[in-house]
């Protein structure tokens, strides 16, 4: 049955899309600290609250560490909590990121991806969120402003089902400050999609419970004589929750499609992979640029497909293997670098392929750090170089190539 709905398209930048999504999600507590390029999102949310368009508590905190501490406590008492930050702000939240995930609190955080100093740089790359990949948060990356709006709404549904916080990542300036057409869903439809948040533990004076006590390594017997988890069992449960969240993420995407007519039942985006011998892998807005590069290469008769990573945590190993089964060469572009090793998404791809029958060559390129412009032509050139490297030593395959002027 075809979906009959009226579109409500407006031109807006990524920060506006995120703010509208938070409003449509009926967030109850927002705590944020301004940082470029996240600031307009923060301002827009405070405007929604002050003008009465959003019934929520807006807490203008004095730091990002406090922003997430406020969201953590608000989530504990049962309020839907939202925050947003970038770069140094996310780094400053590091302790609280662990805390929120460890306490299994379904907070949603918009990370407007930006480079981290030193030296100072306010422009885009993905080093900030990649550096937080081991904090126990689900990470979803967006390619355009429609995806930002849709993903924030889905993020609450996912987080509140698996009790794991979700980081919605989008590229600073490239998306945050660039206007695009975005279809704004009806509030009634969002309400249908997103039921009210139910905390896993209720903080209630009539039934006192203590949260986040000192927990020993081994299980201990409680007052009721029952054996309770030790620290390690609690960590296992967080890992299990992320491992199993794939189904919830896909279901959230499928249900979203049913109501809003946009299909997100996928862990990543695919373009012409059916007959591809070469696959380009990229994440965030770069995945859109990769499609243009693939177009150029296809015109030359090179069979190129694109795998646009969407969910980075949990990393969809099995799904990636299914898509890459015909690839002879995988070219991974990273807007981050794990110093002394390689780009983070490249490591994930290699890890996913280990032990499978796929024996594709993998080449990694580091691009776009600190806002360095990445053109589709450069991605196509890099892919041609990767192809050439299969026959002659034009690059060292042990380490990533950098598309910069050194």
């Amino acid at each position: 049955m075809a979906i009959q709905r009226k579109s409500n398209i407006h031109i807006m930048d990524g920060n506006q899309a995120a703010a509208i999504a938070a409003r449509l999600s009926r967030v109850q507590v927002v705590a944020a600290y301004p940082i470029t390029p996240q600031t307009p999102l923060t301002e827009q949310l405070s405007l929604f609250v002050e003008s009465g368009e959003l019934k929520a508590e807006y807490v203008a905190v004095e730091s990002e560490h406090s922003a997430l501490a406020v969201c953590t406590s608000a989530s504990i008492v049962g309020a839907r909590a939202f925050t947003a930050t970038s770069a140094h702000g996310l780094a400053y939240m590091h302790e609280m990121l662990h805390w929120a995930a460890g306490a299994r609190l379904p907070i949603v955080l918009a990370c407007v991806n930006r480079a981290i100093g030193a030296p100072w740089n306010v422009l885009n790359d993905q080093q900030d969120s990649i550096a937080q990949r081991d904090t126990g948060w689900i990470q979803i990356y967006c390619r355009n402003n429609q995806e930002i709006l849709d993903t924030v709404i889905q993020a609450f549904r996912i987080a509140e089902q698996v009790y794991v916080p979700v980081m919605v990542c989008y590229d600073g300036y490239i998306l945050s400050h660039t206007e695009m057409p975005v279809d704004i869903p009806d509030q009634a439809d969002v309400d249908k999609y997103l039921p009210p948040y139910k905390p896993h533990t209720t903080l209630d004076p009539a039934n006192p419970k203590n949260y986040n006590l000192v927990t020993l390594a081994d299980p201990r017997v409680g007052v009721e004589g029952k054996l309770c988890h030790g620290y390690m069992e609690l960590r296992y449960l967080l890992q299990e929750a992320l491992q199993n969240s794939r189904e919830t993420i896909l279901d959230a995407g499928q249900e979203f499609n049913k109501i809003f007519g946009r299909d997100y039942a996928r862990m990543f985006w695919e373009d012409r992979n059916e007959d591809a011998e070469i696959t380009i892998v990229a994440m965030g807005s770069l995945a859109m640029e990769a499609i243009v590069a693939a177009d150029m290469l296809r015109e030359e008769g090179i069979k190129v497909g694109v795998l646009g990573l969407r969910v980075f945590r949990p990393f969809p190993k099995a799904d990636v293997v299914r898509v890459l089964r015909k690839s002879k060469l995988i070219v991974v572009f990273d807007k981050n670098i794990s110093y002394g090793s390689e780009g983070a998404t490249c490591s994930e791809i290699k890890s996913a392929l280990y032990g499978t029958y796929i024996n594709a060559s993998i080449r990694n390129f580091i691009v776009g750090l600190g806002g360095r412009d990445v053109k589709a032509r450069e991605l196509a050139d890099a892919t041609r170089k990767a192809i050439a490297s299969l026959k002659e030593t034009v690059i060292n395959p042990d380490y990533p190539e950098w598309i910069c002027q050194i």
Binding site: A69, S73, A74
Partner: protein, 246 residues
Amino acid sequence: MYPITAVNVPCVNTPFASTGASATGLVAGLKALGRKGITVLAFAGDGGTYDIGIQSLSGAAERQMDFIYVCYDNEGYMNTGNQRSGSTPLGAVSGTTPVLGKQQYQKDMTAIMEAHGLPYVATCSASFPLDLYEKVKKARTIEGTRFIHIQTPCPPGWLFPFSDTIKIGELAVETGLVVLYEIEDGIFRLTSMSESVASKGTQLRPVREYFNHQGRFKTITEEQIDELQEWVTTRWKHFLHRATHA
């Protein structure tokens, strides 16, 4: 320790630096949900208040968040085995001032909190429990950020016998090193022992008596004792002036 707790009220343990912000989140969350009639109380030590947590406490106080903040001050990082904090007094030996003793004065945290324009700030001592009880009871009836400081003698950290705990706390007040007062809507009032010393016009005991009873002051110099005596005398005069010109 999980899964057993002695705390019979709903309690949230938070990271060190975040006490003020975590209390803010509880207040904001309860307000957003329309849950009324619940008092939020934040409890942190001197390290978590004077040092690592001052930013989040100051932010919350500036926003006039509606909670009571209690600083349980034992003048050092006692949980990690007695290291110097912003509240460790001049001359005190600690794990990180092991030979010379601390060379700086205590930070006046209550004055800092008063400067935030709070509706209620008070100083207390664990040796004067009725005064403490009255102040917490009063704080509960007031709206906004309320700050209560409690000086709490620590036998193993300050190096004195456990049986002297109450006596040491009393001596701190009798010597004027700790002054018991409250400031309600800007009105300053001495309370308890400090109030009775002031109203009877009796003299404070010499600070030397307080130092003599504690091993942590074993290396304090005569000059430092004189300096501290002068500091206490001047500060006491200032408090007497405030109390009579309220």
